[in-house]
């Protein structure tokens, strides 16, 4: 059963009581909340996620709620609970959905070390997968959203889960986080794009999440091999250009963008080396989405130099 199959009232009742066990990529998340707005945002953005049957093992026990007592009435806030512990400061209650997303990132980065985890988007087309590492501001999420809206399969917007043995990419398909101008850009790019509620004045500015494509969500268990690593670099002044990147420079970028390199140590280093060896490494400079999409197609068709 999918999350979208539960009626609105039924969903908020379950979230208030026993919780729902949501399948997100390889994880099962037991989620509780009394916040109605979060319940409807989940229904919109995670509607295509499968629900696990009740009972059994959940990887993460998460709940988001307003603090108890008087503080719940004056400028209400939301707290992220990881199995009863509060790892972060509270946020205004209107930021509940982004807080869920950031909190889930934190859980994965802190407790999941069977993969090398990179801060990167992962997309696939014609059985060829691309890892896109990129610091904030590189246009990674915007490009990722555009590719997902043009038929690429979205494996992840935020975290690449790289298998330590086989270098396989495990999908953890979740809504794509768009910030500030990117929100308008994506709405102009595809008028059918479904965006969740806008959260203003977060630490990252205005944030909205793009509903992931149905096909990508339904293939949440299907791992993929990796073929390319592309570093996107958006700049309004730059021209559109794909360039091959030195493997050693890419290795440094991967390590810099890794969440758990310090924990995997040698194993992480070897995995990153093998990954760079196995992939074509490119940088992609772009100033508009349409040209960037064409460039990405050229990458997977091995026609960068033509």
């Amino acid at each position: 059963m999918k999350l979208a199959d539960i009626s609105k009232t039924d969903l908020s009742n379950r979230l208030k009581n026993e919780g729902i066990r949501l399948r997100i990529g390889p994880f099962v998340i037991l989620l509780n909340t009394r916040i109605e707005a979060l319940s409807s945002a989940l229904k919109l953005l995670y509607g295509e996620s499968e629900l696990a049957i009740d009972g059994g093992f959940s990887d993460f026990h998460i709940s988001l709620d307003a603090p108890a007592g008087l503080r719940g009435y004056y400028r209400p806030q939301v707290l992220f609970y990881f199995d009863g512990q509060v790892p972060f400061k509270p946020l205004p209650i209107t930021h509940a959905f982004p807080l869920f997303e950031w909190g889930l990132n934190w859980c994965i980065a802190k407790y999941v070390h069977q993969y090398l985890i990179l801060h990167a988007a992962v997309l696939e087309k014609n059985n060829r997968s691309i890892i896109m590492p990129g610091p904030p501001g590189s246009g990674k999420s915007t490009l990722c959203a555009a590719l997902a809206l043009r038929g690429w399969r979205l494996l992840s917007d935020e975290m690449a889960l790289v298998g330590l043995e086989d270098l396989s990419l495990t999908p953890v398909t979740r809504p794509v986080a768009l910030k500030n101008e990117s929100i308008d850009i994506i709405q102009r790019f595809e008028s059918d794009a479904v965006l969740g509620p806008l959260s203003y004045d977060t630490s990252k500015g205005t944030v909205a999440h793009l509903q992931p494509p149905v096909d990508s969500m339904s293939r949440y268990l299907e791992k993929s091999g990796v073929s390319y690593i592309v570093m996107p670099r958006y700049s309004p002044e730059s021209s559109n250009e794909v360039r091959e990147m030195q493997q050693s420079s890419m290795l440094k970028e991967l390590i810099r963008n890794s969440f758990n390199y310090n924990i995997l140590r040698e194993e992480g280093f070897r995995t990153a080396c093998r990954l760079v060896d196995a992939c074509g490494c490119f940088t992609l400079d772009f100033n508009n989405l349409d040209d960037a999409l064409t460039s990405m197609d050229r990458v997977i068709h091995n026609s960068v130099n033509e």
């Binding site: 026990h61 009863g84 070390h113 069977q114």
Partner: protein, 434 residues
Amino acid sequence: MPIKLPLLLKILVKPDYLPDLDDSEWDLLVRQARASSLLGQIYYLVMEGGYLESVPERVRHHLQSENRYFEAQKKSVLWEIDNISGTLAHLDTPIILLKGAAYLKRGYSVSRGRIFNDIDILVRQDQLDRIEASLKQKGWLSTHLNDYDQRYYRQWMHEIPPLKHHTRGTVLDIHHTILPLTSSNRPDIMKMFDASEPLVNEVNISVLSKTDMFIHSATHLFHESELSHALRDLVDLRLLAEEQGSELFCNELTNRAKELDLSWPVSYALYYLKTILQYQPAECNHDHFGGKEEKTVPLFLAPLFTRAFMPNHHSCTNFFSPVASWLLYIRGHWLRMPFYLLIPHLVRKALARDKNKKKHGRFFLTNLNKGKDMNKMLGTIGLVVGVAGLLLSLFAGIGRISGSYYLMGFQSMTLLNVGISMMVASCMVKLYSE
């Protein structure tokens, strides 16, 4: 109070149950163990029993991830110890590793899967200045820079303010004795130095003797004011006792504890090892603390500690838990810091000032006597607001120190600020009323 034994305790007592757990029991066990810093221990119990095959795949990932985390920490701590040893080698003074670092360096079973934050070392007090200076030259910086904190540590505590490496962020606690200088227990630390054992292939690194390790760990556990790791510490004690493996251990332990004047923490430890973990070191029965041991933990303390030894997870807490941890918090401070000096001192100071005010006719009662209704009312309001502010600040301050970031839904610091503002406002009102 009857307490249903939490799953984590059942497993710690009898790991044979591990292969029979179903998915939802694993769910509970992983959460209780993680909250009590014992997930690494569970991983080793699974490996030791050869149960890995029977562990559901999802759970296996969590256990193995925890172990990867542990292995990474182990490597970096061992590296850091080498580094510290090298930095201090020219001083030709022994550096005694304590707790986690010592267990790792010794390769004791207690170190397996044990996650800790700081490296603790024990050094001779007369060498402190040289050691601190050498470390500072190599990038270890003091974490507490204000004068009050510096004085607090140096005059009253058993350690100097922790040092932090400015690039790697490792925290190093340098102790010169094992209990605060102000605490009522003042064991002779030189006896521990004398019994310490240098490590092979090391220039200046030593560890405490096995017996002293047990005594040190027990002493800390039962002097602690924050007992969020109490169960983990008790498991440490069991593994340390098992490490001894000698039938003479109990004799040695008893004699040594007497010698160091630390008999009571050791007898508490043996009592709770028996009642919570159902573990009794070999030969540790009626001849030693046994028999009388129920009497060694005072009646009012026993249930508090029993509560504190429950897994630090919401499935194992009840209405009594916060009360118990608050009382133990007070007790811990009572043992460490002379509250009985601090409070009378503050009260005396406050009274002396009031006397002074009376002499100058500024004390609010003199205003009451003048019969000025307005002033009387303002004075009373000021007093009420001031006292309320003081109580609120105390409440928030104590709450914050005991680890509650949120009280009644507000951040503790917000409440503290409100309390202080109320006190300031009351002073203004009272000034005006006079």
